[in-house]
């Protein structure tokens, strides 16, 4: 609970955030102590982890320093699928007070569980995330993450209540009502996916609602999907809403693994609960701070489902530079791509985020787009469909063809590939109410 005493002081210091400023030496001590505990717990209670440790001739007692984490085996999404639903749980079901599940694009979802203490930790990291993004008691916050099995809605909800903000549990969808609620309820801050908010900006325009003139929304905490700095600029330019990035994934805790402070230069990781590593995804060797690779987490306080060296598939780097906000928590660079988003076109690795960056570079506002993958005579083909807006439209065919060429040239500059760009009618590309679907894969067999 937020202490009203502290709130009434200069208005900036919050006891919940004190952990963000812990001296580094102390932080490492806490991490090591918690790492030892979690490894012992997982060894005792999770068969898969015990087998993997035994196969390496390792015992929990071999973890003597933080660097010893590198001796532990990795885990990944397939482990959750293989042991579906409860195989990685480290507590009896009587201790599990909440289950969440990810949609999972193929077959079964993945399931995650929380003990009462896990729920408490999760709530605390979200409160710290909200505070660092400038949310306070007194804010009226519209939470547009989906409520339900997805961790976003209920996760943020618990944190917002603990912050004692006024929560509007709007969940996703019904875009015109979202705008109406913002207006009528005097909403001052929002949470949701960045792509859904981009859609809402468009809906508001259509309704004749001006974000700056008619609404009071000042800040937004956006996450659950990778989004670029270009998109941040677009959101802030088009709506005046200051956009902060919150990072998380269900397998670790949900949203609140890390979050941006007022400097908005990459999320600080809540290192007292999540041990962060970057590895080379091919050699699996750990990489030094500053070098780009796959993000790997070990949960330091999770009880129900500890994750040991969990490979997130997110590609980023640890930014060890001190942040001007004074937090001692290290930051990661903003995640713009995931290794499993990648596809190979004519032998070149392409990420959807590169296409987004190329389109933003051409138009300065993000058009709706869809990457369509097909396979012709055994080769993967890619086409980018871009929706036309009134601002882009010209009455001269030549000017429209120029626009098409500018998109194609920009994509070529970023990816090195000549990719067909098709202009599409407004509204013809499906809008998502949760995570954006930017890729339509029409290849018959995927490798």
């Amino acid at each position: 609970m937020i202490s009203r005493l502290w709130n009434d002081l200069e208005g900036t210091f919050f006891p919940e955030s004190a952990l963000d400023f812990m001296p580094v030496e102390r932080l490492r001590e806490v991490q090591l102590q918690r790492l030892k505990t979690v490894v012992s717990l997982a060894y005792e209670r999770v068969a898969l982890f015990r087998e993997r440790l035994d196969a390496r001739g390792l015992k929990p007692a071999d973890i003597r320093s933080l660097d010893d984490v590198r001796r532990l085996p990795y885990s990944m999404k397939s482990d959750l699928r293989d042991t579906y639903p409860y195989g990685l749980f480290a507590v009896p079901m009587t201790e599990v007070v909440r289950l969440h599940a990810s949609s999972g694009t193929t077959g079964k979802p993945i399931v995650v569980g929380y003990t009462a203490q896990d729920m408490e930790v999760w709530k605390q990291v979200i409160v710290r995330a909200l505070l660092s993004a400038g949310f306070t008691r007194g804010d009226i916050v519209q939470n547009m993450y989906g409520y339900g099995l997805f961790t976003g809605g209920l996760g943020l909800h618990a944190g917002l209540e603990a912050l004692e903000a006024t929560v509007v549990p709007a969940s996703g969808g019904n875009s015109e009502r979202q705008i109406m609620l913002m207006k009528d309820f005097g909403v001052t801050a929002i949470c949701g996916t960045p792509s859904y908010f981009v859609h809402l900006i468009e809906v508001a325009q259509r309704m004749g609602v001006d974000f700056r003139r008619d609404l009071k929304v000042k800040r937004g905490l956006f996450g659950a999907e990778p989004w670029s700095d270009g998109l941040r600029k677009y959101i802030e330019g088009a709506s005046g809403v200051k956009a902060y990035d919150i990072y998380g994934l269900s397998e670790i805790v949900g949203p609140g693994v890390g979050s941006e402070c007022e400097c908005r230069d990459g999320p600080h990781i809540f290192e007292d609960h999540f041990l962060v590593e970057i590895i080379d995804p091919d050699t699996l060797e750990p990489l030094p701070d500053g070098q780009e690779g796959e993000l790997v987490f070990t949960t330091l306080s999770k009880q129900a489902m500890p994750a040991i060296r969990y490979r997130t598939r997110d590609i980023t780097a640890i930014d060890p530079r001190p942040c001007s906000c004074g937090r001692t928590l290290r930051r990661i660079r903003r995640i713009c791509r995931r290794s499993d988003d990648m596809f190979i076109i004519h032998g070149v690795n392409v990420f959807p985020s590169q296409i987004e960056a190329a389109l933003l570079r051409t138009e300065a506002s993000l058009p709706h787009y869809l990457i369509v993958l097909t396979r012709r005579s055994g080769l993967d083909q890619m086409e980018v469909r871009v929706e036309i807006t009134g601002e882009m439209l010209r009455d001269r065919v030549g000017a429209m063809e120029q626009l098409q060429k500018r998109f194609a040239r920009s994509i070529e500059q970023v990816t090195g590939l000549h990719i067909a760009v098709t202009l599409a009618q407004p509204g013809s590309i499906e809008r998502s109410e949760g995570k954006a679907r930017r890729v339509l894969d029409l290849r018959e067999s995927k490798s």
């Binding site: 009134g390 882009m392 439209l393 009455d395 001269r396 098409q404 202009l423 509204g427 013809s428």
Partner: protein, 147 residues
Amino acid sequence: MKIRQISVFLENQPGRLSALCRALAEAGINLVALTLSDAGEFGLLRFITPEPDRAEQVAKAAGFAAISSDVLALCLPNRPGGLAAVLTQLEPHGLSVEYMYAFARRTGDAVMITCFDDVDLAMAALRTAGVSMLKPADLFASDQPSV
């Protein structure tokens, strides 16, 4: 006199043009002149209507990208050499014609809907050359009496 023209983007998909025409028809909007350009991968419908504002709104509400722009309606004698004479007079002004579409009226003249690269310069040049340009009111009313 400038005439407002509405341009609508048409994706290269069956039924797009008829969907647009249906929406305009339902709103009771009459098209006086139109041209459909085909760039291979998309179409652009440009048209003249007595109610450009409403037509633009109707097209947008039906989910199309639409804009309005200014063109000129040149009134020329409907006989060989009518257009050639006007274009020759414009030559020294360095104006270029972006596109044109025409219709003949029962009054015996031809109306050339013309988009110039510089509409204001073109208007001044045409006025000096004594070429008659139709006002919106003339364009929409004067076709009524039959000769």
